[in-house]
């Protein structure tokens, strides 16, 4: 479903702030794969996701989604294939618009916007049903401005928006990192339910090693712009946090990242 080949990206080349974030990343996700991505700060996790989403062009390599080469495609055109939830709860929704208007925008992801009505009656009924899945009481607040919602509610709504129109690929960029533990668990739970119900091909970045092991059928670890660990299936299921750390030390040849990664 997703085919990333030999991706390179350097930020601010030729300046003192030069930072090579991706050094030849290749990754293949099969349809229905739910891969969790872990790694320390600056490992290139978010850069990989942004490269796939098309936030900026990559230096080298290719990206294709569902067999379509999207490497040169601008972000808004790629949106046709991709549902995204950002780390910052403010980023995924339009605060000054109503809940139903946000959903209606998401329902038309990847379609050309015409002079047809921005939201129809039939849609509203569907949104109420969809919002019930989140179990946050948002189904009674269709016409509330999204700016009035809490961070957790906004993130849950963004998740719903990202999956409202079934995406070929779902990108979750530490989407629970900014939430309190209880809300984070709720949003993660909703993620699990939606992903498994629709068999969505998903790439989820997380800082939490336990979450990375519990969720999904594949686990990817990045280190210094490369994918250093990629485990799947039974092997992943049996993985424990200490084993994961040991694996990481072996690959990276250092143990300095242990505490940082455990604590964060």
């Amino acid at each position: 479903m997703l085919d990333v080949k030999n991706l390179y990206k350097t930020f601010n080349p030729g300046t003192v702030n030069e930072k090579t974030a991706l050094r030849g990343v290749s990754l293949h996700l099969n349809e229905g794969d739910f891969a969790t991505v872990i790694g320390g700060n600056g490992a290139g996790k978010s850069t990989l996701l942004n490269a796939v989403a098309g936030v900026w062009p990559v230096d080298a390599g290719s990206i294709s989604i569902a067999g379509v080469d999207v490497t040169a495609m601008p972000e808004h055109k790629r949106a046709k294939f991709i549902g995204r939830v950002f780390q910052d709860p403010m980023m995924g929704t339009a605060a000054t618009m109503q809940i139903e208007e946000n959903l209606a925008l998401a329902a038309r992801r990847g379609e050309s916007r015409t002079l047809r009505s921005g939201i129809t009656k039939a849609e509203r009924a569907e949104y109420i049903e969809r919002l019930k899945i989140l179990d946050l009481g948002l189904e009674d607040r269709l016409t509330s401005k999204v700016g009035l919602l809490s961070g957790g509610q906004r993130q849950a709504l963004t998740l719903l928006m990202a999956t409202l129109k079934k995406p070929q690929l779902l990108l979750l960029d530490e989407h629970t990192a900014a939430l309190d533990p209880k809300t984070a668990a709720k949003v993660l739970d909703a993620t699990e339910r939606i992903v498994s119900k629709d068999h969505l091909t998903t790439l989820m970045i997380t800082h939490n090693m336990k979450d990375a092991i519990t969720h999904g059928n594949r686990l990817i670890m990045m280190y210094e712009g490369r994918i250093v660990i990629d485990v799947a299936g039974e092997e992943k299921k049996k993985l424990t946090v200490p084993q994961l750390l040991e694996l990481f030390n072996k690959v990276s040849g250092s143990d300095e990242a242990d505490d940082k990664m455990l604590l964060s």
Partner: protein, 319 residues
């Protein structure tokens, strides 16, 4: 005082005409979240195109349409400078506005003023609005429905209805999403560059239409007629918002509030003039009014912040 009262119908008429421009400013400033300075130039462009075409014998409606299109073109230039060339929106607007001064002069045949000869009754009769109709309608020389307040009021109502419909469509919603959160808009597959350009085109079209109406009303277009237009537009938007924020939640009513804001602005100007202020101080007054109203939300936020801090500090004092 009686001078002020008798000047009111004129002030309301002018306010309504500027209200059309203010609705254009609302589209960029409130919906797209861009302060577009093109309007100071495109307002005059609308007036110039209309007067030159109309005095040249073109049909009034065709001339109005041409003014609208000319304004849209100005908006397109600013939009492309901003999105295609990466120039910050405010600077792109300033560049277009500056360039438009020469363009406007060229349209008017390198004259600073082009007048419509309203002493010819046939020509005057053809006009949609005119300063003279205010008095004529009052004396009964013309039917009441030719009064500029009625004509421009109706014009504004139709305009608001059209915009209400447009911003409820998929395309209109994509414009609102772009202004609200560009990241989100792109993630939903909206081409935010296109949306921004479209908003600027629409806005400047309305601004030029307003310029065409004012040129008709004053029976002349004048090279400086748009100077400070953005400030008047912002004043109308802010006054409308401050007064009606709690009352009007519907989008159509919010647009109506902008128009009413422009009327109130002109009534206040008239009142100040009636008190004997030199008309040359009006621009300073406008700038001050807008500066004060723009500061209010900021100071409000700061004040409430200080209050919370003070309460916390008070708590530790007692402890």
């Amino acid at each position: 005082m009686s001078g002020f009262i008798s000047a009111l119908p004129g002030a309301i008429s002018q306010g309504l005409i500027w209200g059309v421009m203010a609705i254009g400013v609302y589209i960029t400033y409130k919906i797209l979240d861009i302060a577009d300075l093109t309007v100071d130039g495109s307002f005059c462009t609308g007036g110039a195109v209309f007067v030159v075409l109309f005095t040249g014998g073109t049909n009034l409606w065709v001339a109005l349409l041409a003014a609208l299109l000319a304004g849209m073109l100005a908006g397109l230039v600013t939009g492309l400078l901003h999105t295609l060339c990466g120039i910050p929106a405010i600077l792109a607007g300033i560049l277009t506005q500056l360039g438009l001064w020469s363009v406007n002069m060229a349209i008017m045949g390198m004259k600073a003023t082009v007048a419509i000869n309203v002493t010819t009754p046939e020509l005057l009769d053809k006009l949609l609005v005119s300063l003279r109709f205010v008095k004529d309608a009052a004396t009964g020389a013309r039917p009441f429905y030719r009064h500029p307040i009625i004509v421009v009021g109706l014009f504004t109502a139709v305009l608001i209805a059209l915009l209400y419909w447009f911003f409820g469509t998929e395309l209109g919603c994509s414009l609102r999403a772009t202004g609200s959160n560009r990241n989100m808009a792109r993630a939903q597959g909206i081409n935010t560059d296109h949306a921004t350009v479209l908003g600027l085109v629409l806005s400047n079209g309305l601004v030029a239409l307003s310029g065409a109406l004012l040129a008709q009303y004053n029976s002349a277009s004048e090279i400086n007629m748009g100077r400070g237009a953005i400030v008047i537009g912002l004043a109308a938007v802010i006054i409308g918002e401050v007064i009606f924020a709690r009352l009007f939640h519907n989008f159509a009513l919010k647009l109506a509030a902008v128009s009413i804001g422009a009327i109130l602005y002109y009534i206040v100007l008239q009142a100040v003039l009636a008190m004997g202020l030199n008309a040359n101080y009006l621009k300073l007054l406008s700038a001050l009014v807008v500066a004060v109203f723009l500061s209010i939300p900021y100071w409000k936020g700061k004040y409430t912040h200080v209050k919370v801090n003070a309460a916390a500090a008070g708590g530790t004092d007692h402890a």
